[in-house]
Symmetry: C2
Subunit: 222 residues, 2 copies
């Protein structure tokens, strides 16, 4: 896919893994193991998110994940910590509403990196600066324990209706749905029109993350 | 004072204020108020530290403090978050043992900024890379509730003995003592040979932070 409107390389949001260290088993090695399996199973983006971790451990994990993702030609996105993204030359940064503003992130990262922002409602979507932000994580689809600050659940119908209201046919802004998306609701979520699904527990908490990723790929048809 | 050995501008560690948002009153405006008073009272360095804050609030505080510190020609040092330091063009970064390694911080910040590292014992001191790190925060002098991870207290005697063992007469590495330093023990702490004292509650929790800073200046003779 060629993207003519931004200097960023094309990227595929269809199966977006958000790592949760506790669900993976607690340590860096556990996250690496889950990520490697998930990459083999077909995930198209990996985000390192460790809300409770201090930055040394976070950086250790990023250092381990960066060559792994690169060898699979899958973007590594760093949650929140632009400094870590710069330190390991990650492919992008994802920020929530309580993190650095996207405009600051763009200024720090430069034009070649991917920036994503979490969006829970129409108001937050309206505030997204096109040209600065490449994709939005829309959710939570269902209530989730992994990000308690994420706000009330949209539900699949709410997601569809938000997309219908807000998505502009001329915009290059991509969308990925997040929040308790799993193999059971993945098809319905994809049918709302998002560009992909982001999963946490569906892969991180699975005893067979490669198979879990593969099953999700099949359901979403990627 | 001229510093011939590094490209960093000279800085004066003698009265180093570490902000604690809760002790200041909880919000950005409270920290600004305390900082302004402390600057008027004579503090020579201001560090923004807010271990529990998300980065948007932290960045808001840094944006407010940066012009204030600059107008007083006092360096603003950012705890932990190199991205925020870059975003607001702060004068430096302070990292603890659980934050990014100093070498990574130097690479991200460039040669003109100040870098400090927390050190609790001889082993951590030995690991300091001279040329990369400009100063170390040595402590805790006494046990402190503001940084529970800081390790066992050195005591004034332990601080003196650590300095005697570790400090090289040819090194340009500066030292600032931290951990329950206040107007009662400031003189004794300074007499161990440190270049300055870092205080948290002695100013942040004071009802009269300007007077508290001035009293500390008098005791340490700066």
């Amino acid at each position: 896919m060629t993207n003519l409107t931004t200097p960023r390389a094309a990227f595929d949001l269809s199966l977006y893994l958000v790592l949760d260290p506790d669900m993976c088993g607690g340590g860096v090695a556990d996250m690496v193991r889950v990520t490697e399996a998930a990459l083999n199973g077909g995930v198209t983006v990996v985000q390192l998110r460790a809300l409770k971790w201090r930055k040394r451990a976070f950086w250790d994990a990023a250092c381990a994940l960066q060559p792994l993702c690169r060898s699979h030609r899958v973007p590594l996105i760093i949650n929140d910590h632009v400094d870590v993204a710069l330190a390991v030359d990650a492919d992008g940064v994802h920020v929530g509403q309580q993190d650095l503003p996207a405009k600051e992130v763009r200024r720090l990262l430069g034009e070649s990196k991917i920036i994503g922002v979490s969006v829970s409602n129409a108001q937050q979507w309206r505030e997204i600066e096109t040209g600065v932000v490449d994709y939005i994580g829309v959710g939570p689809v269902q209530l989730t324990a992994t990000k308690p600050e994420a706000g009330p659940a949209l539900g699949v119908d709410g997601l569809r209706s938000l997309l219908a209201t807000m998505r502009s046919p001329t915009s290059t802004l991509k969308t990925v749905a997040i929040g308790s998306v799993n193999v059971n609701n993945a098809r319905a979520v994809m049918e709302t029109g998002v560009d992909g699904i982001a999963v946490v527990s569906a892969i991180c908490a699975s005893k067979a993350p490669e198979e879990a990723a593969r099953a999700l790929c099949e359901v979403i048809g990627s």
